[in-house]
Assembly symmetry: C2
Homo-oligomer: 367 residues x 2
């Protein structure tokens, strides 16, 4: 594929624990409702799925935040629930509400009917990846993504979001055999899905285990982490001669960093409850260390500019000076600890992104 | 006060890290909506606050779970938000919905108007404590409680529950001075409130930091933990010659156990994400160790009896054999990791309570 050469490789280098002259930054859900231009495109598309399934619209909204901010990566505009939708569960989004599935997966018969979907049903995603990659024209790398097997299972069993995860946990505690069956299918589907995104042009891939943190100790390892590992073991290592970095983000997973040490991925996403310095000491150093991605509280973006700058500095300093020499060492990719709020003032995002760049350059200069 | 002598002191002994012949168990929100007899009393009372402010009703519902289950402690039936209500914010509960305040605390003027309330406005709580203590007649000890300063502040600023804590975090990040002022007042109010509960007959007190876990690392220590400590420093140590154990429960606080080590309390409540064995090694051993309270996932109660028994055994075994000799050592108080769900089948609670007693006796016998 004749994609343009990459002009800003700071994100990919940091994923691979190589030195960079600044700390790269991107934001989870950076293409989204807080941007008026996004809301305008969505209005034209008619619905969220109308937006996500249209290559031109998906390309347009993916690039919108890059026009405003000096971000170091783009992320495919899509949803974590495309895979269960392709399994035939019928995904929809009412305006202002969370995702809903027409069908849920709760019984032995529901589970028996479940299978890895034909990847052709997800062709619209892969087309979007290729289209976005072309439109980026080498500006920054493109991240592909998927929900983790456990997180997909939560939505598939609950039929949508949940406060208490009662349905999915009832199934897990009552019929662990059925839950393992769902998770095996999900893992194999997610691996095929991410490999197809890599084929289509994704330069890094990220697994969102948004609901891993709701599990009890022991159950997280058995029902979430084991299946994230199953996905990772099936992913393509390289494409077109380049290593494809693999990032795993577990919201609320800070207690389990020791369990994540031996995961076959390059970077770990962290939420704001985690101390970056401690996480670096735990999993960031040594030959098999992970790059760390995160982790400012998205609510910082509601504070005035000088407070945003102070909080950005605090997060960068809690990680400490990243690796500066040749070879591999501890690196940090700046991000929020969770998706950006739809209520965020867009001008505050500039303050954050610019503060990450300038303060991280300062830190390197004084190291 | 001529209260009857205590017949079952296993809970108090375990709080003080003294040996017991079984692991004591009680359940957060054990008097509540999952019990049909509770729903009947609430219907008679007309509203939640009608129930909580009436001494006879509060006594009746506090004792209801003890009629059904072999629980080792009773907990005052009340709400964590009585203190801000007494501050004049106007608490109400619509049926099936969360708490709402008429007034919020968001501006400089709102904060200036805030003060430690006259404890006479909370007389109904202290009357309930005395009435319940009498009605218990020495059967099991009575736990008093309050929300933590931070958790109260969340509700006071948000005006009710929240998904994203946007209002309270916006205030915290924008005007930390105002937030510190609110928290100082809350801490002093909570200390007076708990001391009055102790005077009225509470034999242990618990602070619920239900929302401490939503804070970023660094902010938790500054805006939640510091004010929990401020409460603890003001609490009465003893009453009527008996030590009053102090328990602190921080939902989502497992990452910060090292920071909680030096808190002036006897026991730490833990949610289900925490590994009890690891927590015991971290904060449960040594001369200044804490008793640990928790931490089974409340959703386990939706599984069939044999699965509940297996999960109870796993939690007990993850703590390991408690201290068995004289003096003080590591102890465990069994509980849920969060309040019991209103959808819980009441007969499953018997299975859990009985499994805790029988399995913990077995563990001691084979130690």
């Amino acid at each position: 594929m004749p994609f343009a050469p990459l002009q800003n490789d700071s994100f990919l280098r940091a994923c691979l624990r190589q030195s960079t002259d600044h700390t790269p930054v991107w934001l989870m859900r950076q293409a989204g409702r807080y941007l008026p231009e996004y809301r305008a495109t969505r209005a034209r598309a008619g619905s969220f799925m109308g937006l996500a399934t249209n290559t031109d619209y998906a390309t347009e909204v993916t690039l919108q935040p890059l026009e405003r901010y000096a971000l170091d990566a783009a992320i495919l505009f899509s949803d974590i629930l495309t895979v269960p939708d392709a399994m035939g569960l019928g995904l929809s989004f009412a305006l202002g509400e969370g995702p809903k599935f027409e069908k849920t997966v709760r019984t032995e018969a529901d589970v028996a009917a479940l299978a890895v979907p034909d990847m052709n049903r997800l062709r619209y995603v892969f087309d979007a990846v290729t289209s976005i990659r072309k439109a980026l024209n080498g500006r920054v790398p493109l991240i592909g993504f998927s929900g983790s097997p456990w997180t997909l299972a939560c939505y598939m069993v609950e039929g949508g979001g949940s406060d208490d995860y009662r349905a999915v946990k009832t199934l897990m505690y009552s019929r662990p055999d059925l839950m393992h069956r769902i998770l095996t299918i999900n893992a194999d589907a997610v691996a095929a899905y991410l490999n197809a995104q890599i084929e289509a042009g994704a330069q890094a891939v990220m697994l969102f285990d948004s609901w891993g943190g709701v599990l009890a100790d022991g159950k997280f390892q058995e029902f979430s982490l084991a299946y994230t590992k199953r996905v990772l073991s099936q992913l393509q290592r390289e494409h077109g001669g380049a290593t494809i970095p693999r990032i795993v983000f577990t919201k609320g997973g800070g207690l389990w960093l020791d369990d994540m040490k031996d995961m076959d991925c390059h970077a770990l996403g962290l939420d704001w409850t985690v101390n970056l310095g401690r996480a670096r000491a735990q999993v960031g150093e040594g030959a098999n260390g992970k790059a760390l991605q995160g982790n400012i509280d998205p609510n910082v973006l509601f504070a005035p500019p000088d407070r945003i700058e102070a909080e950005v500095a605090a997060v960068l300093e809690s990680f400490g000076t990243p690796h500066l020499g040749a070879g591999a060492g501890p690196t940090h990719i700046f991000n929020l600890g969770h998706g950006i709020s739809q209520h965020t003032p867009p001008e505050h995002v500039s303050v954050l992104v610019d503060a990450v760049h300038s303060h991280s350059r300062r830190l390197r200069a004084t190291a």
